[in-house]
């Protein structure tokens, strides 16, 4: 069923591509048939934005050219399903992302970022207090995505400049905005690294630097798992196409994971009719206890 949907989607995209081929002047990002001359190599060290937690580039590479124009938003990519139901058997959602790069020669790289609803995260450092290890003062990160999956065709530092990675919030550390002062004993970056590490450990921050493949026709498709322990709500799926260290095109979709059926009813009662919900729970408990006492007395 899902495979059929993907196939249909790919066919639609292919049709779109053919239409664009027939009318090249309509393309927003014109594709020159001749390979563009590569930018001249330079000895100057790449400019790195001071970014705590961002991995330094492993080797010198071409200086990132500042984008001359806004990246195109007309990027042939999509997600196969926009609404996911969290029923009582919910075990996570599988988002299928697919599309193709509008480059016949398969140049460039694709990055997909799936982001959960933003939330405030609180990190604490344990310290020793009267022989016990207790939690220290809170360090807050605002607007941190509750879930983040970044899939790319190659490691990000080979695709984009550190600045672009940081500004597009493709680095998990870049996503968390530190709020307020940190305790005097530690610097902010230690807390930021700890935050990302803990999120990775619980499977909520996922990075697959080679998780995407462009096939012979420059097509890509990939299922990205949103685990069941990730929060429900509105997710964004951003798809980027980089070439020569430059962001050429980007596109954003939203998807929604919402409670359905009994889950939805219970959550609605628990939050909107809390007192009635409490009464209901107590009555259920009383009935359960009474029923078992009666049932076991007769046997």
């Amino acid at each position: 069923m899902r495979a059929a949907m993907i196939l249909a989607g790919l066919l639609a995209l292919a049709a779109l591509a053919q239409a664009q081929e027939r009318a090249p002047e309509s393309m927003t990002a014109p594709e020159p048939e001749i390979v563009a001359p590569p930018p001249a190599p330079t000895d100057a060290a790449p400019r790195i934005i001071e970014a705590p937690g961002a991995a330094p580039p492993r080797r010198p590479r071409r200086v990132a050219r500042a984008p001359q124009s806004e990246p195109s938003t007309d990027f042939p990519a999509a997600i196969a399903q926009e609404n996911f139901a969290a029923t009582s058997s919910y075990q996570g959602a599988e988002v299928t992302v697919f599309g193709y790069t509008p480059d016949r020669l398969r140049r460039g790289d694709v990055v997909v970022a799936v982001r959960g609803p933003p939330e405030t995260a609180v990190v604490r450092r344990k310290f020793r207090f009267l022989a016990f290890w207790v939690n220290g003062d809170p360090v807050r990160f605002e607007d941190a995505p509750s879930f983040l999956a970044v899939y790319s065709t190659r490691p990000l530092n080979e695709i984009a400049s550190p600045r672009a990675i940081w500004e597009l919030r493709l680095d998990p550390a870049a996503s968390a905005r530190l709020v307020g002062a940190t305790p005097a004993d530690a610097d902010a970056s230690a807390y930021r690294r700890a935050f990302v590490r803990l999120r990775r450990q619980s499977g909520l921050y996922v990075e697959e630097p080679e998780g995407l493949d462009l096939d012979a026709n420059a097509l890509f498709h990939r299922q990205i798992k949103i685990p069941a322990n990730a929060p429900l709500g509105e997710y964004t799926v951003e798809i980027f196409w980089f070439r020569d260290n430059r962001l050429i095109a980007r596109q954003a979709n939203t998807l929604n994971v919402a409670r359905q059926g009994i889950e939805r009813t219970i959550h609605h009662l628990a939050t909107k009719h809390a007192f009635f919900y409490g009464i209901l729970t107590v009555l259920l408990a009383l009935a359960g206890g009474w029923a078992s006492a009666v049932a076991f007395r007769k046997t």
Binding site: Y90, F132, N135, H267, T271, F275, L280, L284, A293
Partner: protein, 303 residues
């Protein structure tokens, strides 16, 4: 069978939770203890957020104490007046406890406090159970081996507001039962336990109630306090998960009935001794974790 819990926002194995709650119910039916002190840490260990585990657990305690109370009431083993007085203190105490719980939840220290309270009370329960079963095993066969506590002049007797409790044969101040109920209510709300394990010894040794009405009367207090805690947790913290509660209730009441039924045929004292050792082990493990340097110093607050 995986079930997604709507309030905890996570999937659990329904069968596993059902079996665990039945096991805990069985142990509580066997020993007369509530079982909340085993179930709550188990739920937290399974990954259920501590606030949800504590809040939801109160509903299971409500259910298991109903069937226990019904059995005691049929045998006229309940001092209703004393039970209601203890419950009054308990309701005030649990209201207080739920607000402490919310404050500590916001301050990020709830897990430390819960762990410390568990270490303290698991050690106390373990010691009491071990002592009782040891005494029972040693004096097995001798009728009325354990002497009933004799009334002795105490400071408690000098308090005002005297009241007669015909079922217990007592004429005492209302203040000690109210204070006792209050203290147990605070603990019930914070720890997600019924508190019978503190209440029962205190009723015997402090209030000097006859032992035959202690179980039924403490069950009445536990029932009322657990029901009020469920209601308060649902209204204030909104962390009661009805789906989890339903599984816990079903497993708990069936287990408790089986435990009470089989309890008569099994060597109860030896079982209590084994359970006491398990409880000691759990307390030691919790304490060890608090005292040894953690493998990783940073923690994330539960969202």
């Amino acid at each position: 069978m995986s079930i997604y819990l709507p309030i905890a926002e996570m999937p659990v194995s329904g069968l596993l939770v059902l079996l665990l709650s039945a096991l805990v119910g069985f142990v509580s039916g066997l020993t007369g203890l509530g079982g909340g002190f085993i179930m709550t840490p188990m739920l937290i260990f399974m990954g259920i957020p501590a606030p949800v585990a504590v809040a939801t657990q109160a509903s299971q305690i409500t259910a298991t104490s109903v069937s226990g109370l019904m059995a005691q009431a049929r045998r006229r083993m309940v001092d209703w007046r004393m039970g209601l007085l203890l419950s009054m203190g308990g309701v005030i105490g649990s209201t207080f406890g739920v607000s402490i719980f919310s404050t500590l939840l916001a301050a990020g220290q709830i897990d430390i406090l819960i762990t410390l309270l568990y270490v303290l009370f698991l050690t106390v329960i373990g010691a009491l159970m071990l002592f009782e079963s040891f005494m029972a095993i040693r004096t097995a066969g001798k009728p009325l081996a354990r002497p009933l506590p004799r009334p002795s002049p105490m400071a408690l007797d000098k308090l005002p507001f005297l009241m007669r409790f015909p079922r217990s044969g007592l004429y005492i101040s209302v203040l000690p039962p109210l204070a006792l109920g209050f203290g147990v209510g605070v603990l019930a709300a914070i720890m997600g336990v019924g508190g019978a394990f503190i209440l029962a010894p205190a009723m015997i040794y402090l209030l000097r109630m006859p032992t035959n009405v202690v179980v039924g009367t403490s069950l009445l207090q536990v029932l009322i306090v657990a029901a009020v805690v469920t209601l308060l947790q649902a209204s204030i913290t909104q962390k009661v998960d009805l789906l989890l509660a339903a599984i816990l209730i079903v497993g708990g009441v069936i287990g408790a009935q089986l435990g009470a039924r089989l309890g008569a045929r099994l060597p109860g004292e030896q079982l209590r001794a084994v359970l006491a050792v398990v409880v000691f082990g759990a307390a030691a493990k919790l304490l060890w974790d608090l005292l040894t340097p953690p493998a990783y110093l940073y923690v994330l607050d539960p969202s």
